[in-house]
Amino acid sequence: MQRPIIQTAGLTRVFKNTRAVDSLDLAIQPGALFGLIGPDGAGKTTTLRLLAGLLDITAGSAEVAGFDLGKQPEAAKARIGYMAQQFSLYGELSVQENLRFFSDLYGVPSAQQAGRSERLLRFAGLDGFKDRRAAHLSGGMQKKLALACTLIHQPQILLLDEPTTGVDPVSRREFWNILTDLHLEGTTILVSTPYMDEADRCSQVGLMYSGRLVVCDTPQAIRERIEGEIVALHPQDWQAARRLVAGLPGVSEVQTYGETLLLIVDSARLRLPQIENALQQEGLVYQSARQAPPRMEEAFISLIRRMESEKTPHPEAG
């Protein structure tokens, strides 16, 4: 295994009374596409800001691209492309002027500047909008321009804080295609996201909860972490069915998706007939009941629920 390009040891950041990031140990290999997931307030944004050198470290250490962030944050910054959650471009500047501004700040050699921005604009599908002011771009295009600006100095590491939040699904897909291309080119990407389908596209996923990294694995392994199996149920009267199945033995959790119920059970083979029996006895009609493969979404919700139930009996520990 190579030496990690991003490595933290006991990284901690305290704001007044909250430990936004709490003893975080993170190791990201060069070339990884690392997805950071977790509920709101878990510490994802603070982690990314710490790694971008934008916040003082309260305790612990962080090394990015071989530079200790406590000692040489500026050297690390030159190798990082950071995109804040509310990335804001200079609205009065045109697409091209924004790119030029950032290439000047990062000291991109003038000879390479024109070629690079051409390539990035094509890459981001913005080549037809060079002279348009950033303020007049659509939300999705602004995100792509923002990404292009963070890429102008060809950073080794990309830190992206929820880059697709508030973007329509088509633009989201396009944005991720760009990220995948960058991943293929070998750029290390650390991206936080509230979307589980995006987490599924990462090579590695870290789940944060209360400032800690509680799970860190491949999406496949995380999906399999779900304890038990999933039964998907399509009842006619989903409210009544939900009340019934939630109390059945072996059913640890019920998640509702529209009028579909996903049941997490200890064993689908054992419980599926019991569930069908119970429904028939109560006279509840259902279209289908079958075992379903676990998805990231269920795994995430199930993991978070477990965290929360572990936390509640010991409120003083939080």
Binding site: F15, R49, A52, G53, L54, L55, D56, P73, E74, A75, K77, A78, I80, Y82, A84, Q86, F87, S88, L89, Y90, E92, L93, E97, R100, F101, F102, D104, L105, Y106, G107, R133, C149
Partner: protein, 377 residues
């Protein structure tokens, strides 16, 4: 320090100034607006000051004299009164600002060339109009004597000055026409031209509010590069106003400009550096535009108005305030603008003020850079 980065920030800022209408208005047109507004609102070019006349002589000469005093549009005869008690009543009610008492032996003394016994009572609560009335009466009386007694004076060989009605001894250097505007407007420039300081304070807070500051901090830009890059465009735009505003003062308000314009321009650039550094400090400490705006008024504009000697003489202030006024760029610049406009003073006299302005600029920028951290919290 990279010149390229400073230039990049400066260029971006220029685009911002010229493409964002509210910023453009604030930076480019507010000074003109302020000049017009303040010059009209604040100048004490007094006209039609109501006065009362108590003529105890009741001679043909005294009547002629009283008529001539109130003939122009400077003083208006509000009432012809019969007793000093009436004068007091009118003064107390504020109906008149001054009263002229012509003594009983007015015409006798005048004809005997013994001088002109006059008394002027002014409303001490309004020294501006009172003082103006005194000066005006003095000038009119002199003219009256010179005109009506020219023959007698010449025959007796007495110069008209010997009869001076009011011994004014007010020396009105540089402002012989007695127009307060000529003094006030050059002083006002020190406030008006410092206006871009507000914009520069706002622009840093603006970047924080809009999240672009976070992006800037994530780049390897140095704090000096950022602060200088921010300041340079506002100095350049401010210099446009150091041309426009004096021209306006000369053309519109007929303020004479007797000094060297290149000197004025050069010293104005140093002043802009100093006052903008104050704006930068505010921008460094304040997180929101509203807070930056409030603090700018508290630290730049109110002191600039009251403590720099534009309206109130610094010499009359308590020692601690006098000390504070030394740290206000406006104090030194007001001396420079007043000195260059009317008396046309040169660098030989003004250099200490220029040095002081430059020094203040360096100190303020240094403080700003010292406290500006590329961290979010």
């Amino acid at each position: 320090m990279s010149l390229r980065r400073i230039r990049a920030v400066a260029r971006k800022e220029i685009h911002h100034i010229f493409r964002d209408r509210s910023t453009l208005f604030l930076v480019l047109f507010t000074p003109t607006l302020l000049l017009l507004l303040m010059a009209y609102a604040l100048t004490v070019d007094l006209q039609d000051i109501p006065i009362a006349v108590l003529d105890l002589d009741r001679s043909e000469a005294s009547r002629r004299f009283a008529a001539q005093i109130t003939a122009g549009n400077d003083l208006t005869l509000y009432a012809q009164v019969e007793s000093p008690a009436e004068i007091e009543a009118l003064l107390v009610r504020g109906e008149i600002k001054a009263a002229l008492i012509i003594h009983p032996n007015f015409s006798a003394d005048l004809l005997a060339l013994r001088g002109i016994p006059l008394q002027i009572i002014i409303d001490g609560t309004e020294p501006e109009s009172g003082g103006f009335a005194v000066q005006h009466v003095g000038r009119r009386a002199e003219a009256f004597v010179t005109e009506s007694l020219a023959g007698q004076l010449q025959a007796a060989g007495v110069p008209p000055e010997a009869l001076q009605a009011v011994d004014l001894r007010v020396r009105t250097w540089y402002n012989p026409s007695l127009k307060p505007r000529n003094d006030l407007i050059p002083g006002l420039l020190s406030m008006i031209l410092g206006f871009p300081a507000l914009s520069v304070a706002l622009t840093l807070a603006h970047e924080r509010e809009h999240g672009t500051m976070e992006q800037l901090m994530a780049t390897p830009i140095g704090r000096w590069e950022l602060l200088l890059g921010k300041m340079v465009p506002y100095i350049l735009v401010g210099l446009i106003n150091t041309i426009v505003i004096p021209l306006l003062a000369m053309a519109w308000f007929r303020i004479p400009f007797n000094g060297s314009f290149p000197l004025f321009f050069g010293l104005s650039a140093i002043f802009l550096f100093a006052i903008l550094s104050m704006g930068i400090i505010i921008g460094v400490f304040m997180r929101t535009q509203a807070a930056a705006l409030a603090l700018s008024f508290l630290l730049i504009f109110f002191p600039g108005f009251f403590l720099t000697g534009i309206f109130f003489p610094i010499a009359a202030m308590p020692e601690i305030v006098r000390l504070e006024s030394l740290f206000l760029p406006g104090t030194h610049y007001a001396i420079i603008t007043r000195g260059i406009f009317l008396p046309g003073i040169g660098l030989d006299v003004l250099w200490p003020y220029a040095v002081m302005l430059f020094f203040l600029g360096l100190v303020f920028t240094g403080v700003a850079a010292l406290f500006f951290r590329k961290k979010l919290a």
